[in-house]
């Protein structure tokens, strides 16, 4: 299988006043297409910086980064925006949905920056919402949805432009553990059914346990990289949990 992400000797320095801070000190790894990777490490380990570079939001100081065969290092602002638009889906800890905007329109957002006609945008947004199990809530606004539902809208948004990778930055950090597992179940399903490469940044080992591979960082360096032969099944874990009050009650 071809690598979707190829990183070599990646270095990132920040200048805080006079003193340069070395945040990433030469990192190299590959991520295969269709993999489910968790990136772990304590705060300050450089995993957020790595995440920003992987997401084409930031540029490395040196080293090479190839995403889907495209060398990202030399691209300018607008070219990076284009790559983000076509290749990457983002899921954030704080969902980052537009307030007072319906779920459908939130999901359509990435397509607004393409030439997709509005009819097709609607259709694809609807389909993405169906995939994350939010059929019937297309016209709800974020304030009318529970946290878990909001994160599912965000996942639908990350899916809508058929990205090569989905980058999730602490996607369960703002949710309780049961709903966190629900989110991981969706990720596992997308990974297996659609073959989307998943990269989840987390500091929670319980969440990392659902991935196939876990990369650990410490002090700006790769600490260890382990393959998980038998990741946990989020769907089965959910079945084992006592049937709490269904989440749907939260919303009106």
């Amino acid at each position: 299988m071809a690598s979707v992400i190829e990183i070599k000797d990646l270095v990132k320095d920040y200048k805080l006043g006079e003193v340069p801070v070395h945040v990433l000190k030469g990192i190299s790894f590959l991520i295969e297409r269709g993999d489910f990777v968790s990136i772990m490490g304590p705060s300050g380990s450089g995993k957020s910086t790595l995440m920003n570079i992987l997401g084409c939001l930031d540029k490395p100081t040196s080293g090479s980064y190839q995403l889907d065969g495209i060398s990202v290092a030399g691209l300018n602002r607008d070219q990076l925006a284009d790559i983000r638009n076509k290749k990457i889906g983002f899921v954030f800890q704080q969902f980052n949905l537009l307030a007072r905007t319906s779920a459908t329109e939130n999901v359509e957002l990435p397509l607004m920056y393409t030439d997709t006609p509005s009819r097709e945008r609607h259709e694809r947004a609807r389909k993405a919402l169906l995939t994350v199990g939010l059929a019937g809530r297309e016209e709800h606004q974020p304030s009318q949805l529970s946290g878990g539902q909001q994160q599912r809208v965000a996942i639908a948004r990350s899916l809508v432009n058929d990205p090569s990778i989905i980058l999730a930055d602490e996607p369960t950090g703002a949710l309780d553990s049961r709903i966190g597992i629900e989110i991981m179940a969706i990720f596992q399903r997308l990974n297996r059914e659609k073959g989307i490469t998943m990269i989840v940044v987390t500091h929670d080992p319980d969440i990392a346990a659902y991935s196939n591979r876990s990369i650990h960082f410490k002090d700006g360096k790769l600490q260890f990289d382990e393959k998980l032969a038998q990741p946990r099944e989020a769907r089965k874990d959910l079945e084992k949990l006592p049937a709490e009050q269904p989440e749907e009650i939260v919303s009106s």
């Binding site: 920003n52 925006a81 980052n96 537009l98 007072r100 957002l109 920056y113």
Partner: protein, 411 residues
């Protein structure tokens, strides 16, 4: 195109969310545009009124008045002696190539009587050329002819004010009026001209053949039976005015045998020039009013810039998100620019409506004629849109060049 429609929808939604704030921001532009429209309307109305008055005295007009003469070292005032004659008028008309018409006039106060009614007015002895020069038309009847002048016919043409006072609403044509015990047949009534630029009632007048006037009514000047009170001259064209003045001056000096170095015994005045100066001052006033009003439009623009900067700061996370999902620099720029322009254009439209209403109210209650031209409406509209672009650009640029990482992390 698709993107502009999309941006406009986003802009309307963003403005709707903060309805009160948007309305207050627009108020600056509304007041500015309304002030420009109303003030320019007032100025244009004043200019138009002066132009209309200038038209009423006739076009390309030059007036020649008898001047002062020195008699044994005593200088007498203008018009004190009769130095201008009907022969001068004929000579000017015949010999000056830049002069189209020359109409001599004598004038004096008379009491006009019709049965039980009488009216004190200004009698002018004129020739038929006077009608052409002053652009008079007839409300009824006919103007007297050259034959009438030659024959010293007892015929008169009434101004509308005189006709009203003597005959009420009935048509005086063919009736008889008595001036100084001499009966005159009314040949016709002049179409009213209204006020002159100097505020006189131009319709309070009775016109007589110049010959009749000097012989029967006003009494001939003893020194010179041919003397006239004034001479109205029409130049061939507006460009020929100066030439006509020079020709007349030379001719009159020659006819009056004035040696070089001595003063003229007549005065020549370019009437059009005098009134054009008034028109210019009215235009200056209108520009001034417009300029003052434009200042408020610029203040309104600063209000837009202020609110857009606040909006960009408030929506930093939204901007970061849009950038993350693929919005390019120009997408964000366009979004905020469209928002600013939407504010200013909506304000502009409302301002135009209010400005039009205001100028109508000014016309109605202050009885000050206002004129709002479609051009000034268009200009106000375009200007308000430009204000939006100009003052919206800086905040929009600020938004477009935010660092997506910083923006996403912004609390």
């Amino acid at each position: 195109m698709n993107k502009i429609v999309g941006s406009t929808r986003i802009a309307f939604r963003a403005l709707e969310v903060n309805r009160m704030r948007s309305a207050l921001t627009m108020l600056g532009i509304i007041i500015g545009v309304a002030a420009v429209i109303a003030m320019v309307g007032v100025g244009a109305g004043a200019t138009a009124r002066i132009q209309q008055q200038i038209q009423s005295i006739g076009s390309n007009l030059i007036i020649v008045l008898p001047g002062s003469i020195s008699s044994n070292g005593v200088r007498l005032g203008s018009g004190a002696t009769a130095t201008l004659t009907q022969d001068d008028a004929k000579a000017i008309a015949a010999e000056c190539p830049s002069v189209a018409l020359a109409a001599p006039a004598v004038r004096g106060g008379v009491q006009v009587v019709n049965g039980n009614n009488n009216w004190a007015t200004n009698a002018q002895g004129v020739t038929p050329d006077y009608m052409t020069i002053r652009d008079y038309t007839m409300l009824s009847g006919q103007f007297f002819t050259t034959q009438d002048v030659d024959a010293a016919a007892k015929t008169a043409v009434l101004g509308e004010t005189v006709a009203q006072n003597l005959f009420g609403d009935s048509d005086p044509t063919g009736q008889v009026v008595i001036i100084k015990n001499v009966p005159f047949t009314v040949a016709g009534v002049l179409t009213p001209k209204g006020q002159s630029p100097t505020g006189q009632d131009q319709d309070d007048v009775i016109l007589l053949p110049i010959s009749t006037a000097t012989q029967k009514v006003l009494g001939a000047n003893k020194a010179n039976a041919q003397a006239i009170g004034s001479l109205m001259v029409q130049a061939m064209s507006p460009q020929a005015m100066d030439q006509a003045i020079q020709e007349m001056e030379a001719l009159l000096r020659e006819r009056h045998r004035i040696l070089p170095g001595l003063e003229d015994d007549f005065t020549i005045r370019n009437l059009t020039e005098v009134f054009e100066a008034q028109e210019t001052s009215a235009q200056v006033m209108s520009i001034l009013l417009g300029a003052i009003a434009s200042v408020s439009l610029i203040v309104g623009g600063i209000g837009i810039m202020n609110i857009m900067l606040v909006s960009v700061t408030e929506r930093t996370r939204e901007i970061g998100l849009r950038q993350a999902v693929g919005a390019k620099t120009r997408d964000i720029l366009l979004q905020f620019l469209v928002e600013a322009v939407t504010l200013s254009v909506l304000g502009g439209i409302v301002g135009i409506v209010i400005g039009l209403t205001a100028s109508l109210l000014i016309s109605h209650f202050a009885e000050w004629s206002t004129q709002v031209s479609p051009l000034s409406i268009l200009l106000a509209f375009v200007f308000s849109a430009l204000v939006g672009v100009f003052f919206g650009y800086y905040p929009a640029r600020k938004a477009a060049f935010l660092d997506p990482i910083e923006a996403l992390r912004y609390e």
